[in-house]
């Protein structure tokens, strides 16, 4: 058990695994996203109430889902950073924060554009939208805080604490549509129930969510590798890696 734990924490070991995983992640992501989005845009039936504007769901839900999911992953990595001081956990937080920021922005933006024809307004200060905006600020705050502190270890701990405090926002986002009266519709997918939409709608949606997950996996691997290279520049294995690639 501890051996696996130590191995997982080794940047060199992760670097090798990521290199092998990345082509599969990218291929899977592009295939699933292409099928899911084309299906959703052109072949899924029109919604009886919202018409064609509902087709935004095929990018809105995956972005919003990932935005929260990435934050939970970051918070988990934050705990690992604080308790076990594992370098790789900190590398993860640093590498994926900008990805989370972009995903949150996409969820807010596509939501606003969807809101105009559906609710008649781009923006309203309702619970779901406001808590999502706070998530955007949390991502921005984590990135800014990391850049503001020069010492790598202090920065890692400070960012981990910020991310952990911010985790309180996640259940607020999730349950906001149930706790308060909001304009936002309730969750599309629930683990315990069958989706309320027909299969021609939820299958492409599920494919897009999975596709975006894989794409996030690819981005996380790539960005973590970059961060590892930058941090471990002077080590023997990085030297061997970069010189071998030049010769090959």
């Amino acid at each position: 058990m501890w051996q696996i734990f130590h191995k997982l924490g080794s940047p060199k070991w992760f670097f090798g695994i990521a290199t092998r995983l990345m082509p599969w992640l990218l291929a899977g992501a592009l295939a699933l996203l292409a099928v899911g989005l084309v299906w959703g845009l052109a072949f899924a039936p029109k919604d009886y109430l919202q018409g064609n504007s509902y087709r935004i769901i095929f990018i809105h839900v995956p972005s919003a889902f990932l935005a929260q999911s990435v934050y939970i992953m970051m918070a988990t990595a934050g705990v690992v950073t604080l308790v076990w001081r594992m370098k790789l956990a900190d590398v993860f937080v640093k590498a994926v924060a900008p990805v989370g920021l972009v995903l949150t922005f996409l969820a807010l933006f596509t939501g606003a554009v969807w809101g105009k024809p559906t609710w008649g307004t781009w923006w309203i200060w309702d619970a779901r939208l406001t808590s999502m905006l706070i998530l955007l600020f949390l991502y921005g705050g984590a990135i800014a805080l990391d850049r503001a502190i020069n010492d790598e270890k202090s920065a890692a701990r400070a960012v981990a604490v910020l991310v952990l405090v911010g985790v309180v926002n996640i259940p607020i986002i999730k349950y906001s549509v149930e706790w308060w009266n909001t304009l936002h519709q309730p969750a599309t997918f629930k683990l315990t129930e069958k989706p309320s939409m027909p299969a021609e709608m939820w299958v492409p949606l599920l494919l897009s969510v999975l596709g975006l997950y894989l794409l996030f996996g690819w981005l996380a691997c790539l960005r973590m590798q970059t961060e590892i290279l930058a941090r471990e520049q002077r080590t023997r294995w990085v030297k061997e890696h970069v010189l071998a690639r030049r010769a090959g």
Binding site: L37, L41, A42, F43, A44, P45, K46, G51, N52, S53, R55, I56, I59, H60, S63, P98, V99, V102, F105, L106, F109, T110, V113, W114, K116, P117, L215, W218, L219, L222, R223, Q225, T226, L229, A230, Q233, R234, V238, K239, V242, L243, R245, R246
Partner: protein, 78 residues
């Protein structure tokens, strides 16, 4: 296909602009993120390569700070 014609697909009963703007921004931001991450990766990889190529021959090489400070101090005291 859920639409009768290509024009109907583009217009989407008047919801076309909303839908297409969302998909456009999504593709641009995601592709941009991928490209940016990839280019940064290449840049860091090349920086590492430069560091190690200069140090490769001598074993220690120019990556270590040269004892120039000491020399300079000595000269200025003369």
């Amino acid at each position: 296909m859920a639409f009768d014609s290509f024009t109907a697909f583009i217009l989407m009963d008047g919801h076309g602009p909303y839908v297409w703007v969302c998909y456009g921004v999504f593709v641009v931001l995601i592709a941009g993120m991928m490209l940016w991450s990839w280019r940064r990766h290449r840049a860091v990889l090349q920086a590492c390569r430069r560091v190690h190529e200069t140090t490769d021959e001598s074993g220690r090489g120019s990556a270590q700070p040269a004892p120039a400070t000491f020399t300079r101090v000595k000269v200025s005291q003369d």
